[in-house]
Symmetry: C2
Subunit: 488 residues, 2 copies
C-alpha cells in the first residue's frame, strides 16, 4: 500500500484533472483573445448560478421540471448570452413541433376555421372549410371566440397545443401517458397546420423564430402528411416538399445570414413491409426532385411501443441502397430491450447520426462504435425530461458523452410543445445542468461547430455555412462584451 507524498498527490491530482479536462468536449479548441474575454464573462455568470444552486439545490433550474424552471431560465444571464450566441444548427426536430404556441393560436384566427367538440373539456377536431363540414356538429371558431371572449377562448386553445401544465409531473404518470397526450396534440394540430396556406406560413415563421434564436441552419424530420385547401385539392409529398423549398428560398433571399434548411423524410415506424416499401419509393422521388433539400431517411413514433429497427433491416439493406439514414434509436431508459438494442441496429444499418441515443451509455460496444464510425448523437435534453426519461438534468447521460468527447450535438426535438425557445433552452440545460462546472465557451463553440460538421450540408455548403456562422460569431463576441459593460 504505497502512497504518494503530499507533493506527488497534488501533482497527480492536477494531472488527472488536466487529463479529464483535455478529453472534455471542446477542449481541443483554442480561444482567441476576444473569445477569452467573453469566456470570462460567461464563466463568471455560470459560476454564480452554480454557487447558488449548490447552496440551495431545490432552487436550481436544471434540478426542477422544465415547466417549473421557465421563469428561472428567463431570468438567467447565462441564458441571455446563449440566446444571442450563434449556435449554428438544429439537427433534430420535427415538422409540426417547431413554432411557438402563440403563433399557433394566431393561426386559429384565420378565416374559415371550424371546430367540432368542446374546446374546454375535450380535444376537439378542427377544419378549414368555406362551408360548414357535414359530419358532426361544427361551429365557427370565430363565433365561439366571440361567444366565450378571446381571452378565455385563446387560453383554452393555447393549453390544447402545449404539454405545459403546472402539475405536469403528477398529471402524467409515465412515459406512455405522456406520449399518449403528445400524440393527441399532434393529431389536434394536424388539420390546422395541414391547411396549405398555414403550412407554408408555419415553415416561414419557424425559420424566422429559429434564426432569431441564433439558429442558421435547420435540418428537420417530417412526415409530409397530406395537405388540403378550401377548394378540395389535396397536396402530397412532392407538392409539400416543393412548398418547403419555395418558402426556404424566399426566407434565404430575405436573410442573407441564414444558411439553409434540409429535410429528413421520417414517416411513422408503425409500418409493415408494404408501407415501408412505399416510404422508400417516396424518398427516392423526393430526392430526385429536390436533391439539395432532401437529406435522409428516418422513422418516427414512440420507440418502446413496437416496430424495432431490426424488423426493417432486411428490407432496408436490400432496397435502401444510397439512401442516407439518420435513425432515432435508444430513446428509452429500458435496458436490454429491443428499444435500446435499436442502437446496435441503427449503427449497423449505416446511420449517419443517432436521434436521442439516451440509452447509449449502457452499451459499451455502442459507445466504441460511435467513436470509431464517428456517428454523432443528437441530444435533446428538454424533450427527454418532458417526455419522462429523466427527472434531473444532472442525471442526463449526455454528461458522460460530453466527458469523453463523443461526437454530439444538442438539439430541441419539439420545442413548440413545451414553451421552449428553438434551441437556447436546450443549450442552457446542456451547459448549466448536464455539463461539468468546468465546461465553458469552448464547449459551446464545439457544439456549434459539431452541428456544421455532422449536418447533411455538402462540403461546399459547410464552407459557406462556416463563413456565415463565423461572421455571426464575431458579432456575438462584440455584443456580449458591449452588453456586459451595461450589466448584461
Amino acid at each position: 500500500m504505497s502512497r504518494p507524498s503530499y507533493e506527488n498527490f497534488v501533482a497527480e491530482r492536477e494531472s488527472i484533472l488536466a487529463e479529464e479536462a483535455k478529453r472534455y468536449l471542446g477542449s481541443d479548441l483554442e480561444l482567441s483573445p476576444k473569445e477569452k474575454v467573453v469566456n470570462e464573462i460567461l464563466k463568471r455568470e455560470k459560476n454564480l448560478e452554480l454557487v447558488k444552486g449548490f447552496a440551495d439545490p431545490g432552487s436550481f433550474a436544471p434540478a426542477k421540471h422544465f415547466f417549473d424552471a421557465l421563469d428561472d431560465v428567463k431570468a438567467s444571464k447565462v441564458f441571455k448570452i446563449l440566446r444571442k450566441m450563434p449556435k449554428f444548427g438544429v439537427l433534430h426536430c420535427h415538422d409540426t413541433a417547431l413554432l411557438s404556441t402563440d403563433k399557433i393560436v394566431a393561426f386559429t384566427y384565420r378565416a374559415n376555421l371550424w371546430i367540432c367538440g368542446d374546446l374546454f373539456t375535450s380535444v376537439p377536431r378542427f377544419l378549414f372549410s368555406r362551408e360548414k363540414p357535414a359530419d358532426g356538429s361544427w361551429v365557427k371558431v370565430a363565433d365561439e371566440r366571440e361567444k366565450f371572449g378571446a381571452t378565455r377562448y385563446d387560453a383554452a386553445m393555447r393549453s390544447l397545443f402545449t404539454l405545459y401544465a403546472p402539475d405536469a409531473v403528477q398529471k402524467y404518470r409515465d412515459i406512455n401517458a405522456m406520449w399518449s397526450k403528445f400524440m393527441e396534440l399532434f393529431a389536434a394540430l394536424d388539420p390546422i397546420v395541414g391547411y396549405v396556406e398555414i403550412w407554408k406560413d408555419y415553415y416561414y415563421e419557424t425559420l424566422k423564430e429559429f434564426y432569431e434564436d441564433g439558429v442558421q441552419y435547420l435540418e428537420f424530420r417530417g412526415l409530409l402528411p397530406e395537405l388540403y385547401d378550401l377548394d378540395g385539392n389535396k397536396y402530397e409529398a412532392l407538392d409539400i416538399a416543393g412548398m418547403y423549398v419555395e418558402v426556404l428560398e424566399k426566407f434565404k433571399a430575405e436573410n442573407p445570414g441564414f444558411v439553409g434548411s434540409k429535410f429528413i423524410y421520417a414517416p411513422l415506424r408503425f409500418a409493415d413491409n408494404a408501407v415501408f416499401e412505399r416510404y422508400l419509393q417516396t424518398y427516392r422521388a423526393l430526392k430526385a426532385k429536390f436533391p439539395d433539400f432532401i437529406a435522409g431517411f428516418d422513422l418516427v413514433g414512440q420507440e418502446d411501443t413496437a416496430f424495432p429497427l431490426k424488423g426493417f433491416a432486411d428490407h432496408w439493406l436490400k432496397d435502401g441502397h444510397g439512401i442516407p439514414c439518420i435513425f432515432h434509436a435508444g430513446e428509452t431508459n429500458w435496458n436490454g430491450m429491443d428499444t435500446d438494442e435499436n442502437l446496435v441496429d441503427a449503427i449497423l444499418l449505416g446511420t449517419k447520426r443517432i436521434g436521442h441515443g439516451f440509452a447509449a451509455v449502457k452499451h459499451p460496444r455502442v459507445l466504441e462504435e460511435l467513436k470509431k464510425r464517428d456517428i454523432c448523437v443528437e441530444v435533446n435534453p428538454v424533450s427527454n425530461q418532458v417526455l419522462k426519461l429523466v427527472d434531473d438534468y444532472r442525471n442526463h447521460p449526455a454528461a458522460i458523452l460530453f466527458s469523453d468527447n463523443y461526437p454530439v450535438v444538442v438539439s430541441s426535438d419539439d420545442p413548440s410543445f413545451w414553451e421552449a425557445t428553438p434551441l437556447s433552452h436546450d443549450f442552457y440545460m446542456a451547459f448549466v445542468g448536464i455539463a461539468s462546472k468546468h465546461a465553458d465557451l469552448k464547449f459551446l463553440k464545439k457544439l456549434a461547430m459539431n452541428s456544421i460538421k455532422y449536418s447533411s450540408l455538402s462540403d461546399t455548403e459547410q464552407k459557406e455555412g462556416t463563413k456565415k456562422w463565423q461572421e455571426a460569431w464575431d458579432k456575438f463576441l462584440d455584443d456580449v462584451i458591449e452588453a456586459d459593460k451595461k450589466g448584461l
Copy 2:
C-alpha cells in the same frame, strides 16, 4: 457508405450483442447444471415483471419512489428468491441505521426511558435514567404510552425513526432537505441506542436480521459515539469496540454459518486538523487492541456541504501510514465540484473501495483508475433514491458500471431508515431496475463473490467465508428448485 448484407447484419448484430454480454458483470462465471435450473426459474420470473413493466411503466416498481414500491416488491417472486439467496456481504452501511424500525420501537419499551418534547408534533429528546433528568420537562415514555394508547403512541414513535412518508417525494424538496431530516433522525435515535444495554442488543439484533436476509458478513462504518449507562458511567471508542467484539463472538458461536463482521472507523468529515489527528490516534488504538475487527478508516456526513477529502490529504499522507482507507466519494449529482472530484482524491489517497461513487461515470480517468487499481465501488441503490440523487432506478449510473464489468458490490447504506430489508431490496433494485434485462443468476452470484473478494477479510478468512457461503448457496439452489415446484 458500404452496408452489410442482411446475413452479415444479423451476424454482426449477434456479435456485438455477444461481446456486450461477455463484458457484463458476472459473465465470466460458469453455472453448474443445478444453477442453470435455478437460473431458468429466476429469468422466467424476472421476465414476467419486465414484460408487465414495459407495458405499463407507471406500475414498474423500480420506476417508482421506493416508498410507493414497497408493496410491489413484497409481492415479487424475484424478491422472494433474492431474500433466500446467500448474498454474502454488506460492505457499506452505518452503525445506527441497520436495524428494522419495529425493533427500534421495541427498545423504547425498556425501563427508565424518558422523553422531553412532544412526540406528535416535534422531534423530542430521549434519555435513559433512573431519576427524572434535571433540564426541561421530562416525562416517562411508559406513562406517555399509557396515556395516549400504545397504538397511537407507537405509530408516532415509528414515524420518528424512519424517512418513510407516503408523500416523501413532495415533502423533501431537495437533497439538503432530505439530509437535514436524516441528521435529525440520527440525533433523535442517539440517546436511545447510546444506552449501553441497547447498544449491544442493537448490534446483536442487527446481525440476526442481516443473517436472516442472507447476509453472512457485515463490514460496517461507525462513529463510536460515547455511550452511557444508568450509573453515570461513560463508554468510549475502545470500550464500544470491545462490546461489538463480545457480541459478535457470541453471535458467531450461536450461528456457525455466519462468517463475521468488521468495522470501519468513520467519524464525521466536519473536522479540523486537531480533530482529524485525534481520529487517527483513535484508529491506531482501536487497531492495536482489536486487530481482526478493525478494518479501516473513512469519514462520513453529507459530502456536498463541505470538507472535501483534499483538505485532509496532507495530514493523511503524513500521518496515515499503514491505515487502510475506504472513503466515501462522489455521492452527488453535481459535476466538476469538490464533491465529485473527491473521487480523484479518494483514489490517490489509496482507498481500497469507494463508498457510493455515484458521480464516477462522469469522470473517464476515474473510471480507468477504478479498473487499473481494482478499486471496488459500493453501490447503494435505495439510499441514492431516497436521499434524492436519482428518481428512476433505470437511470442509476451503476447500469454503466455493470455493463462493463467494473469492480462493484451492492450494499444498503441505511436500510433501517427506509423500511428496507438488510440487503434484499437493494439487490432487487439493482437486478430488476438497474441491470440489463439479460442480467441473470451469474450477475447475482458475481455480486456475492465480489463482496468476498473486496471485503477486508484476510486471505484465510476469505477462504473460510467462501466455504460457508458455498454451503449456503448449495442449500439455496435446492430450496428454490423445491419452492418452485409449489409455485414459489
